[in-house]
Every structure is written in C-alpha cells, then in structure tokens.
Assembly symmetry: C3
C-alpha cells in the first residue's frame, strides 16, 4: 500500500543497502587483531598443553615464554565489556519502555539501532585508526563500539516516539560519523581525558538529540498534548526500572572498562560511591519536589546522573568523599532539571525531550567537564607519582611544573602539558563537543525532517501501532469456545471433566490481571 506511510518498503531497502555496504567494507578493511590470530612462533610443546596447563604455565614461566605467547585479553576486558553490553541493550532498552503505548518500539528500535551502530561504529573508528590498508578488531574494538552505541541511544531518548524507523536510522548513521570525528579530534588534538565518555558520549548524544528534536518541533502540536501521550502505567514503570537498575549497577564498568592499572581500580570505587549518593539525593529531591512523595520519573532517571558527572574524572584521585559529593551534586542538578528546567526547554525553547536526556546526560555531562577542569588543574606530581605522566603526557619543558624527586632532570619523561593547560584543553573539548553536537544535530534535523524519510503523521506519535504488528488479544468468549471444543475431544472425558473451570480458564476478570 503506497499510503501506509508509517512503514513502507523504503525502510527495508535502505537498511538492506546499508547492511550490504557494511559487509563489503568489513571485507575490504576489517581484520582480526594479532591477539585473535595464531602465533606461528609457538613451540610445539606449548600447543599440546590443555588450556588449564596453559594458564598455569602462564603464571609461572619465565621470560623465555613471554614473547611466544599470544596475548590473552579475555580476562582483561570481557567481564566489563559484557556489563557495558547489558547497559546498552537491557539498560537503555528497558529504561525507555516507560511509555504506555510505545514499549515495543522503545525496546525494538533500541535493539535495532544498537545492532546497526555496532557495525557502523566499528567501521568508522577503524577508518580513523587504519594500519596500512586495514584496521584491526579485538576485544577493545567491541567495547568502544558499544560506547558509541551509548551516544546514539541517548539521542534516541530525546526524540523517542517522534520519528519513523527510517528517520531513526538516518539520524544514527550521521551521528556515529560525527561523534567519532569529534572524539578523534578531542583525543588526538586536544588531548582530552574522558575515561567514562561524559564529554564524547553523554554531552554529544544529549545535545545532538536536543538539536534534532528542536528541528523536528512542529508548531501545531502543543507540548501538553505530547506529554499527555507520554503517560505510564505501573507495569511499564516496573519494566523501565529494569533498565534503570542495570544501568546503575554496571556504571562502574562503563567508567572503568578502558582504564589501566590503579586508574581502573579508582574508577570502580569512585563510580560505586557516586552512584550511591546520587541515588540517595534523588530520593530526597524527589520527596521535596513532589509534595512529599517519590516520583518514579526521577527515580528512573536522576539516580543515574552521578555516573555521568563523574565520567571525565572517574579514574582520578578525587577521593571517595569527592565521589560522593559529585554524585550528590549530579542528583540535585538532574532533579532540578526535570522539575524546573525541562518546562523551560519545552515551552520557551521549543525543545521536546521525551526521556529528559538533558537532565540525565546533558547537564550532568557539562558538570563532568567542568569538574575535570578543576581536577586536572589541581593534580600534583606528589599525589600521582609516575602516573602523572600518564595523565599529562611526556616531553615538555622541565621548568613548567614544580620540581619533584620523581622528575628526571635530563628532561626525559617530563609531562607534556601543565595542569592548567590540561584544564584548558578539557574546556576546549567541552566547547568543541557542544558546538559540534548542536551544529550537526541541527543539520541532521533538517535532513531527517524531509518527506523522503517518511515522517510520522501526528496521530502516530508515541504509538507502537505505527511500527509494530500488535498482538490481537483473543476475547475470552472465543477462548472459552475453543477450550470447550477441545474438551469434547480429549483422550479421556473423565479426566477432562475434572479440570476446574472456575479459575484460570478464561473469564472476564482474568483479562484484567
């Protein structure tokens, strides 16, 4: 049907073309990392060991083995990678099921976009890190592709319920390219440190999404109508909490998965405590803002802001109390955002933010960037020892920072940047990312609102019926008829007669529970 605009063949054709192109590009450029390839130099003895013997020997043997052994990154990355994977698919997916009429689409399109972005982000990041004519794929590739998924799903939250599948797809396609370009520029030129992606993922995803949402705003629709259609039920709120809690629990993995050594330990500890204080503070604010009751919307969202606000400095020595303060501050900021700033955004700036990503990802992300400015400006060699060089780089003039016994007077291994320079670079990354996100979001909004991408007609907003074949519940009369028919033909009428009909078999009351 040409008229069934909410989903015609165009979607399937476009997506098929992308998938085929992805396969071709992977075929031309994608290769396993050496970790995943055989080592020709392995001694024959080695190959005859069982895996347990392998690992036993790995622990014990001396240098002679060291260089003939394939690196074994499973233990180093896999558990945290899977935690991040759960955050993307269960966390974001279920968090967005709160909409009474849009649960299938929230979960299903979240699933689709994530699986699409996994491939596209691997390609894009690969192109930015080519080695000769190919890029290498290992466990960290899977992990960083999942991080890019996070940015796209944050954007998805801002426009949730308001786009057609094709529009979501085009939006994701553009955003992956721009966000990875932005990250590349920040990391390589601005030397930005952002272990938990607060700048590259949270700020970018949120403001890109808000810019798209602004471009899609149709003046004829009132925000009140939109927000009425966003209603939840007890059941959908409980589904949504599955997402919230998995995001909350695994956030320490998100903030520490790519960190090293003691940086990783700190990222875990700091995030754990920031999440705890953020949760407590959210319940406090929720109680104060909602007439002495708790608000599910705040519990579902603002409890997570601590992980965002800590993201850029999760691996630094902020001390446990510092993490608690950052978490608490983020909780307050996020609750204030939902309660006071969101109405301004919606009514004055005409930006409709379905999931409140400005409050959960946007403002806490900016807070994270500002905190990183302070933390990097005040770090000292006395505190960080030799790991100071990991943060501020190497090969800089010896006079720029204070002399400590750790510094090599010959000039080797002296940090590349002063703390103040690093702080300035963090601020530059914040500005660059905000600018890049908003400008590219506006352009993307202009692109995807074109009729060619089949925008949703008004009545189809926030409605699964536009995207999914919905289940057709069988009326109890019909079910009762069928069961009655089956009864007469059972293998043993006596047995059949003994089945109680009073409970379980269809009756109107049962339909409601």
């Amino acid at each position: 049907m040409a008229h069934d605009s909410a989903g015609n063949r165009k979607f399937a054709i476009v997506l098929s073309v992308f998938q085929v192109i992805f396969i071709i590009l992977f075929g031309i450029f994608g290769r396993y990392h050496d970790d995943a390839l055989p080592r020709s130099g392995l001694s024959h003895q080695t190959t005859t060991l069982s895996p347990q013997e392998h690992r036993g020997r790995r622990s014990a043997d001396g240098d002679s083995e060291a260089y003939t052994w394939p690196k074994y990154a499973i233990q180093d990355y896999y558990p945290m990678f899977q935690d991040v994977h759960v955050m993307m698919f269960i966390g974001f997916g279920y968090l967005m099921t709160f909409l009474r009429k849009y649960g299938y689409s929230s979960l299903g399109i979240n699933f689709l976009l994530a699986a699409f972005v996994i491939q596209w982000a691997t390609l894009m990041r690969g192109f930015l890190h080519m080695e000769g004519m190919s890029f290498k794929i290992d466990l960290t590739t899977l992990l960083t592709s999942d991080f890019t998924v996070a940015a796209i799903l944050i954007t998805f939250g801002a426009v949730l319920g308001k786009l057609s599948p094709l529009q979501y797809l085009i939006m994701a396609l553009i955003e992956v390219a721009v966000s990875l370009g932005n990250e590349y520029i920040c990391v390589h030129y601005l030397k930005t440190r952002d272990i938990g992606g607060s700048i590259f993922v949270h700020i970018f995803g949120a403001y890109f999404g808000l810019a798209v949402s602004r471009m899609l705003y149709r003046w004829e629709y009132s925000v009140t109508d939109f927000n009425t259609l966003k209603f939840t039920t007890k059941t959908t709120d409980l589904f949504s909490m599955i997402g919230t809690i998995f995001l909350w629990m695994y956030w320490p993995s998100f903030n520490s998965a790519v960190a090293e050594k003691e940086f990783q330990q700190r990222a875990v500890i700091n995030t754990y405590f920031a999440m705890a204080s953020c949760c407590v503070v959210t319940f406090i604010c929720s109680h104060l803002f909602h007439h002495n009751k708790f608000s599910m919307e705040l519990v579902q969202n603002a409890t997570l802001a601590g992980g965002v606000a800590l993201g850029a400095t999760a691996d630094m020595i902020v001390q446990p109390y510092g993490a608690l303060i950052i978490g608490a501050g983020a909780g307050i900021l996020s609750c204030v955002g939902f309660h006071y700033i969101n109405p301004i955004l919606e009514n004055k700036l005409k930006v409709h933010d379905t999931c409140g990503v400005n409050n959960l990802h946007g403002m806490p992300g900016i807070l994270a960037a500002l905190i990183s400015g302070v933390v990097f400006a005040t770090a000292t060699p006395a505190l960080y020892g030799d790991s100071f060089y990991d943060i501020y780089g190497k090969q800089m003039d010896t006079n720029a920072i204070q002399k400590t016994p750790l510094l090599d007077s010959s000039g080797k291994f002296v940090p590349e940047r002063t703390p103040m320079q690093q702080a300035g670079l963090q601020m530059a990354a914040l500005g660059a990312t905000l600018g890049m996100a908003i400008v590219s979001g506006i352009i993307t909004g202009l692109i995807i609102r074109m009729k060619i991408w089949d925008p949703l007609p008004g009545p189809a907003l926030f409605d699964d019926a536009a995207n999914f074949a919905l289940p057709d519940p069988v009326p109890w009369e019909q079910e009762s008829d069928i069961r009655h028919r089956l009864r007469t033909i059972g293998r043993d009428d006596e047995i059949a007669a003994a089945i109680p009909l009073t409970k379980g078999f269809p009756n109107p009351r049962d339909e409601r529970v």
Copy 2:
C-alpha cells in the same frame, strides 16, 4: 483427588525418586576435581599468603612455584559460565513467557527442568568420562552441564504448553542421556568440532523436540485452535524480550566459553558481529513479511539465529565480514522459516512447534553444520600456523597435506585428518545427530504419550491453571472494605483521615493498569 489428572501425587513421587537416585549416584561416583582440593605439597610459606599476595606472586614468581600451585580456574571460566547460566534461566525462561496464559508454567517449568537437568547431565557426562570408579567435578563440569540444559530447553520450546509436568520430566530424562551419548560419539569417534554446540545442542534439541511434538499430535485438534490459544499481550511480549536480549548479549560467551587462547578471542569477535547483522536482517525481513511493520515474534526469535549458525565455526578464522554474512544469512533463513516453512510444518507434516524452534535452532543449526563443512575443508596451515594441529589432530601421514614450513618432516605433530576428511566428518556428525535426534524423539514421544504420565486433557493446553495455583485478585470492593476498617482503628484518626482516597486506593480503573 484421583480425578485431578493434570497433577496428582505421581509427579511428586517420581521426581522425588529421581532426586534421591541423583544424590546416591553423586555420592558413589562424584568427586571434586583436584583444582577444588587442597594441595598437600604446598609449602608452608605459601599457605600463609593472603589471596592478593598469592595472586601478586603468581604473576611474578619463577618456575620454583609453578608445580606447587593449585590451578585457579575461577578467572578462566567463571564469568562466561555465569553468562551461560543467565542464558539458561533468564534467557530461555523469559523468552517463553510470551504466552498470555502460560507464563507461570513457561518460567517455572523451565526453572525446574534446568535444575533437574543440571544434576542429571553432570551424572551422565561423568559416566562417559569416568576416571577409575569416579568422575571429577570442576568449573568446566558446571559449564558443560549448562550446555546440555540448553538442548533440553530447546526441546521444551517445541512442546511448550502441550505436556503435563510429568511428561516434561520423562522427556528431559531421556533426552539428556541420548544427547550426551550422541555428543560422545561425535566427539570421540567422528572428531566433530562444534565449539558453540550448533550440532550437539541446537540441532539435537530442535529435532528431538519436533519429533516428540509430531508423536503427540492429536488429530482432533486443529492447528488453528492451538495457534489461537498462543496469543500474546504487550506485557507478555515485553517479558519475553528480557529473555531474547539476554540470550542475544551473552551468546558470545556461549560460543566461546570452552574455547582456548586465540580461538576464544575469535569466537567472541565473530559471534558479536554475527548477532549484530542477524538482528538488523531480522528487522528487514520482519518489515518485508509483515506489511511494512515489525513483528515481535520475529524480533524475539530470529534475531538469535546468527549465534546458532555461527556456532560450529565460531572459533575459526572466518573473518569479521564472514561472521556478518553468516549472521545475515541466518536471520533471513529464520524469518523465512517463521513465515513460510512453519505453516507447512504445521499443516502438512502435522508438527506443531510452539516457539518455532525449527526456525531458531533447527534450520540455523543445519546451516551451521554445512558452514563448518566448508570452513574446515578450506582451512590451510598457512592461515592457522601451529594451531592447525589443534583443529585437525596429530599423527597422520605427512604426504596427505601440502608441505609447509610448519610441518615437521619427521612425521611428529602432523595433522591426523585432512581438511576434506574433517569436512566429511562434520557432515557425518550432522547426519548422525539428525538421525539420533529424530529416532530417539519419536520413541520418546511414543513413551510420554502413554496415559501413565497423565497427558493433559484438551482444555488444559496452554493454560497455567493446569499446573499452578493461580493468584486470586482481590476485588476492589473487598480491598476497599478492608482499608476502610483499618482506617477506623489507626493510631491517629487525624493522620488516617489525611490519606488521600482519590488515588491509589482501589477503584475500578486502577484494576486495569
């Protein structure tokens, strides 16, 4: 009541007998593996170290420590074991809750069967690998028992809603024994390689289940009636998606948990990408087949087929683009199965397949076996280096495969099988497994349809009421009465009076949400 056939004491008695026998057999034959036992030879110094010191030293010490150290398999297997555990209990359990009237039974009997099979599979596999008069239990035992659970739960999906608890139990009892026997024959005599269990688990479970289902087909019942009783609701579909997504996310663990070294890395990377392309392709097919809408049934099931189709070669060098192609192909095959092949199966072959296991496990499993034939036939020593011997075994005539620098001219360490022989053996395993599954499934079906196992009467099909004491929702009038009574006796009438009755307290509307 003798007449309450759907569940009389027989079930409890039979299950009790099995559980007692299991305990006795474990008592006679089951022992901890040495990994889980103290090492007498440990030096006294060693035992005084804290675990962290242990591990610190493990990294650093030389050969002198190597042979006094208990092997420590927790890090090697535990995280992936738990992922697989989640796939069995949450993944399969929730995936099958889509049936509106059979959610308790899907989840509950999934739970029961899995816990039952864990014990029985440990025993059976133990009997096949006796060391003297006992078998040893370590972490890999738990893992492989969980793999056997997968086969039984796939079969459960084929007959879901159509058997009594006792029938499910007898079916699982037989299937564990036969499937482990089949696996033993394939691995030991046919040298089958099937790292992800596509042949031993997916093909066996699916076709055993379909054969059982065929034997249970009662001509009087129309397939249309069955499928009408299978209706879903939005809530049950969202529960079902919990299962889908956990299965999807953790499939890389399933396909790689027992792999070694770089084989494991490849299994993770390949499965990750195959799942991604399979998900994307499922949405494409779903859109094409369902009048330009997505279908929840396909999203819940076909998205997983990529992991099955890759299973037998997940650890091989199929390259990332190869994994994408296999995943995409599996997605198409599975969607075609649900849309075109399932009706044929139901109407022509009289095989009713409740969860569509033929489409998710059966045909993608066969595809996996065929792919393994191609992959093993075309592998070269140049590509695999010394790990070539891990695949094709040792001690074979030197002239059989092409000469490479890796080959030892003395004849030691030369592969046992040629690539073409291995491919032939893979095909033999496919044939053997299909035959064994179908024949044993037919026999099992004949056994469990005997009246002694209390088959369900017609009206009790797809109905929790036959298995579970269902909740009796309290009518709002009754709840209101109770709350009113409690109101008059609160500790402080003034306080009680202030509780708003307008919301939250029972009212008819509230019952519906």
Copy 3:
C-alpha cells in the same frame, strides 16, 4: 500539608542530614587502598607499557618486577562483586515486587535503602578496621558493603509494606551498626567461619526483622486482613521471578566471592549443586502442599533456601552429594516453613512476616549454622592437608589433635583450635547472633514505632499511594481526542488518513492488556 503524614519534609531533612554526615565522615576517615594509588617506585619503563603489555609482562617477568607492581584486584573480585551487586538491586528489588499494590515501593525503597547502606556500612566497617586515623577502601570493601546490604534487605522483606520511608531508614541505620558489630565479635573473638554469611547476614537479617515486625504488630489489625492486602497478579508474579532467578543464579558468587584458592572453587561447585536440588525439592513440596499444583510463592522463595543452608560451609569439602543433600533439606525446611510454621508465627506469636523471611533466610540460616558445627567438628588434616591451618588457625598445642604427616613436630603451623572447639565456636556464634538480632530488633522496633517517625496509618499499609506519586492513566477517550486533533494538523493529510485506527489507537479493549 502538615497532615500528609505518610511523607512530610521530615524524611527529606533526616536523609539529607545523614548524607551530609556520611560525606564528612568519608572525607575525614576514608582513603583509597594502596591498590588504587600510584606506586612511586614504578620504573619509568613500566609506566610506558600499554595495559596489554602490562598484562603480558605480568605473566612472564621474573621477581625483579614483583615488588614494583601495583596489585591488580579487578580480575580477582570484580565479576563476582558485580554478581552480588545484581543480587542486591535486581534480585531483592524485583523479588519483592510481587505485591500488587506495593511494587513501586518494594523496588524503589529497596534501591534507596541499598544505596544508603552501601555508604553507612563502608563507614561502620571502616571504623572497626581503622589503620591509624583512616580506613582503606578497595574492591573488597565494595563487596563486603554489599553483603551488609543483604542483611538489611532481608529485614526489609519481613516488614515490607508496613513502615513509612522514615521508619525504614532509621531501622536500616541501627541494623547496619549492630549487625557489623555482631560480625566483628563473631569473627575476631569467636573465630566464626561463615563464608556465605548465613549467620552474619541471613540469620541476623531475618530475626532482627521478625523482632521489629513483632514490635510493630498492632493488635487491632487481623492477620487475615494483612494477607488479603498482599495479593499478587500474574504480572507482578512474573516481575518477582526476575528477582528470584537472578538471586538463584548468582548465589554461587555470593557464597564464594571472598573465598580463596580451592576454597573458592568448592564454594562455587557446592552452591551450584545445592541450588539445583533445592529448586527440584521445592517443586516437589509445592506440588504436595498445594493440592497437586505448584505454588508461585514457594517457587519464588523456597528455591533459594539451598544457598542459605550451605552458606556457612560452602567452601568446605562437603562433597557434591553433600551439597545436594543440604540443598534438598533446605528446600523441604523452607516449604514446611511457608506452609506450616508461618501460620503459627502469625497467629500465635503475632509476628507478621510479609515475604516469609523466616522460611527463606531464618530457619535455613540456623540449619546452616548447625551444619557448620557438624562439618567443622569432623574435618580431618588428612582431608584438608595444609589448608587445615586456614580453617582452624595456627599456634596451638601439638597434642590436641591427632598426629598426621602434615603436622610439623616443632609446633609451628599447628592449628589453633581443635575441630570440636571450632564446632563449639560456631554454635556460640549462632547463639550470639540470634540473641543480638532479636534483642536489637526489639529495641529498634520500640524506637521506630514512635510517632516521631510518622508511622503509616492503617489504610496506607501495603499501598504505593502512601509513598509514590502514582501514574494517572489517560482515559482512552482523552487520548483519542488528542490523536484526532493531531490528525487534522499533520504535515500531510493524505498520509495521516492512511494510519489505521482500528488497531493500536486507543480503544477500551486495549486498555486491558
């Protein structure tokens, strides 16, 4: 409103004060463990390695590196820590959502209490283990704080639905301090071994909660009324099962996370099998006790008792069959508790136990302590080798235990306690914990029933409306109006007209599913 007693500003103010005090105490006393701090002595070469090189070298290098390397505890503890984290937040949280009218509060207050207790337990445990003027925080700190959360959430289960948020908070505040004090006394003075916290966590949490519940019992309310208000629905029961299954699956992590070497392996294996037999036995008892049907209440709760009953001896050589017997025994005990003992508790002892924690945690915990008496009394040096010293301590008179070749005749490394002494100490810990839990629970009950903590009025029991702003479902007429209005102003009337109104758009039937 001063009258809105169920939740006035007092809650927010009290919680804010606690959070601020926590931050101050963390600031004064909390420090990172050395694991999470830079090593000044690191050689410059070392710091320039990538993480993979680090880990590669860790395996291979000799002693020269050993003492310059920060310990890297992530791999040792992190995966199991996250499993335990999931048990606390998803496991307990969803397990308690079975109450039809109290799902928001079960999940939300579970979340709040856990985040609150994480901080408070870290502080309290820190104060008990001060090093100079501060305590150290590492990954094991996070893990042990989560264990304390378990005790508080068990107590929460006993009083679920019957307290105001402020009362829950005060209760948690007191319980953390007392339970950690009890644990400290048992471990340091009574040398109690309780790897899975059956005594310190399960017994303490359960009997503390039951004592509080007894103190809060209001004679005017009938237990029948309470239990009528506890009704479930199919949907809430399926949510509850999410909690059950995650608890069940991850229990091996709970029982083994802090164990070492082969003790940890055994704890995993034993718990895995105890959970399996407990699940099977629960289905048997459930069938026998509920007129040949299964009971969801038993499946949700009694299936978990095996992990509790094994807790105190999970790391010991009880053999796999021993674990199966313990699991089966716990399942029977728990089912008998729900079916026969709970009514006595409620009607005779006036203790209302909302979630049946006596049956799941209390009695199985006592069973665990009794089993530990037997196991520790009968262990022999012949069985445990040198690890015997890990259990019974060092430096004791050589004559006290039988001579074995493992014993050093010089008297060094000879166990501190005899097996019978250890068994006696386990019984002493059981008695001490029971006494401490009940006495402190009674006092806590007397404190929190004071009017100052805003106890709930009768009608607000088991009702989310007292705690949460509930969603206000939009009637379908209103939604239909909005969608109709949006229809007339779509960008393309022709497109809008094509959207089918027959399905998906609001209609009364749709409201019910």
